[in-house]
């Protein structure tokens, strides 16, 4: 595997160089102190990139926008004509992704393009997107728990390149061919790692493997309790303080449910949906199998930790902790699962 060094002082130049041929997304702090991904050159400058924290907003919307016009339609000579939306076919690089969010992209890939039915809208964006991640040196936030979900602060899954912060430089590890090609365009900025830098990188990997520093966790044992707690009164109790808002799902890097509506202007629009909203499961017949918020909340945890695991072999949670940080009612997914009875 190819290894390089990218000096931090050269990052701005590297980002700008990448920006010449690609749409580059970097985490930046907005006016209100929220760290979110913005497009370089359009909404953000390379010097504003903020790589020292877990962004408050995951990069999900770059691949799966919250609002996406699928097509428009018009009437021509009494006939309906469908006009497809121009796809966003620019080459994209998401730079500075955290390993949990990169894994989340791999999870979304499985949903949208990994099965029998391929989502062409997602595919168009995903195929042209490269992910350059930065390994976390221990938990990036007090709400993090990625090791519990099969992830790791130095996981490479979903990434094309993984960077390790080794002090005044990033240790650069190539993960995929896509990543190799991107680095070729940066070859002038790259150097060879010193033994000292190798050692520093190995230390980050060791800490990641040992899951050092994490205060939150979910054990396989608590997850297995889900097998027998579907009808438990526990869900009524724990959901009492849930507000049925969409914060947990909208900020979740793996939540991918959507709704499709025709809107004025003759548009067919796809928007994010949330299983916490009461109309999420509303049938055409007016029957709604999940009218109570306890049922909806339970569904979210079952989908993340049981249905998904049973059906695809992996959790639908990457342990980023954003739902914990953002829940207006202070619900903590690690506590909810640990206390299942």
């Amino acid at each position: 595997m190819s290894k390089y060094i990218l000096k931090k002082e050269k990052v701005v130049d590297a980002l700008n160089a990448l920006g010449n041929a690609n749409a580059v997304y970097i985490p930046v702090k907005n006016k209100r102190g929220l760290v979110e991904y913005k497009e370089l050159g359009r909404d953000a400058a390379a010097a504003d990139a903020k790589f020292d924290c877990r962004p408050d907003v995951p990069p999900k919307a770059i691949l799966f926008p919250q609002t996406q016009v699928l097509f428009t339609f018009k009437k021509v000579d009494g006939k309906i004509e469908v006009v497809p939306t121009e796809p966003d076919d620019r080459e994209k690089i998401i730079f500075g992704v955290r390993p949990c969010d990169a894994i989340a992209i791999a999870v979304m890939d499985k949903v949208f393009i990994g099965g029998k039915f391929v989502d062409t809208y997602y595919k168009a964006r995903r195929e042209r997107t490269a992910v350059i991640s930065i390994a976390c040196d221990g938990p990036a936030d007090s709400t993090c728990f990625c090791p519990s979900t099969g992830g790791s602060p130095a996981a490479t899954e979903g990434s094309d390149v993984l960077l390790y912060d080794v002090g005044d430089s990033y240790y650069v590890e190539v993960v995929s061919d896509k990543g190799r090609k991107i680095l070729e365009s940066l070859s002038a900025s790259l150097e060879t790692p010193s033994p000292e830098q190798e050692k520093r990188k190995d230390e980050i990997v060791r800490k990641a493997e040992a899951a050092e520093g994490f205060t939150r966790s979910i054990t396989a044992e608590s997850i297995s309790k889900l097998d027998s707690s579907f009808d438990s009164k526990y869900w009524d109790d724990v959901s009492r303080r849930c507000l049925s808002c969409g914060a947990c799902t909208y900020y979740c890097p793996t939540c991918h449910c959507f709704d499709i509506n025709d809107e004025p202007g003759r548009k067919r629009v796809r928007t994010w949906d949330s299983c916490q909203f009461s109309n999420f499961t509303m049938h055409t017949s007016s029957h709604n199998p999940r009218t109570a918020k306890a049922q909806r909340l339970r569904n979210r945890y079952y989908h993340k930790f049981k249905y998904s695991k049973d059906n695809t072999g992996r959790y639908l949670c990457v342990g980023c902790g954003r739902c914990i940080a953002l829940c207006p009612a202070g619900l903590d997914i690690t506590k909810v699962i640990s206390e299942v009875k």
Partner: protein, 303 residues
């Protein structure tokens, strides 16, 4: 400390009044529904107790209502709640609007000197200068009353002094960032409608709602999340809150995008005060603004 007093009064009321539960905060600031004396021992009030719990009170009382099989009204067990000054204003408004009945609630008031935003590690903006630190409706107070500040509208005045273009730009930038997770609406203690015309994700459809009814239901706000729809959502909420919103700031607290939503609600409160000389939840038994008119009300739109 007020914690002992809260627990003592909560236990007493649980025993003597047969409360269904007491809604309060645990020491880490998360909402707690205490049903037993052991639960009550976990009740606390400190700087981390930021949630307005009044919405839960409506939930707990309403969920008990209805008719029994033989057509009689079900018995509603009273529900206890711990409230700060701002929360108590919202609670009083619900009492005045007959959403809650005074006999259905037992109120433990806690005078408050402000709560902290953990993300910022500082007091919430609404708490820095606060004109409602002391509960206005309660059965017992858990501690001594504290001094209050004058209401500060300087931020609102700064926006009022902007040109129309500046103001548009200011708000457009804010509304562009809204993701319409509906946390503001769903945490709002005075937003208690079963169905909201501004929320296309929560339309009240019962099993007997006909296809015709569904087909002809107007959709005021689209599912698309963009400045236009977001603006409609936020601005159309405001007139429904006029004379009702007590500026408790819960909408701003829960917003994951950290949008300064209190700039809207405080402006609303200021306008209602200036135009109609009305302050919501000022006293028990007060008529709703929407149910009264005075000769001196501004009425150019009629003439």
């Amino acid at each position: 400390m007020s914690d002992e007093k809260i627990r003592e009064e909560a236990k007493k009321a649980l025993r003597e009044r047969g409360l269904k539960c007491v809604i309060g905060w645990s020491a880490d600031g998360t909402p707690l529904f205490a049903e037993t004396e052991d639960d009550i021992d976990r009740l606390s009030f400190n700087k981390d107790c930021a949630n307005n719990l009044v919405g839960y009170l409506t939930q707990e009382v309403r969920s008990q209502r209805g008719k029994t099989r033989d057509g009689k009204e079900k018995v509603v067990k009273p529900v206890g709640i711990v409230v700060r000054g701002c929360d108590s204003k919202a609670l009083l408004l619900l009492l005045n609007e007959n959403i809650l009945s005074r006999k259905d609630v037992f109120i433990i008031g806690v005078p408050c000197t402000g709560v902290e935003d953990k993300r910022a590690g500082a007091l919430y903006r609404k708490c820095v200068k606060c004109a409602m630190r002391n509960p206005v409706v309660y059965d017992v107070l858990a501690s001594e009353k504290v001094p209050e500040d004058e209401k500060d509208y300087s931020e609102i005045e700064a926006i009022e002094n902007m040109s129309v273009e500046e103001r548009w730009e200011f708000w457009e930038e804010i509304f562009a960032d809204c993701v319409r997770c509906h946390a503001c609406k769903r945490s709002c203690p005075v937003c208690y409608c079963d169905e909201c015309l501004l929320d296309p994700t929560d339309v009240a459809i019962r099993p007997d709602t006909t296809a015709d009814e569904k087909a002809h239901r107007p959709r005021w706000v689209e599912r698309s999340v963009n400045v236009r729809e977001n603006l409609l959502y936020h601005l159309a909420r405001l007139p429904h809150l006029a004379g009702r919103c007590v500026d408790c700031g819960e909408c701003e607290r829960v917003c994951p995008q950290r949008l300064p939503l209190r700039l809207l609600t405080a402006k609303l409160e200021k306008d209602v005060k200036e135009i109609f000389c009305y302050e919501p939840a000022k006293e028990e038994g007060q008529k709703p603004l929407i149910a009264m008119s005075k000769m001196e009300d501004e009425n150019e739109f009629i003439m």
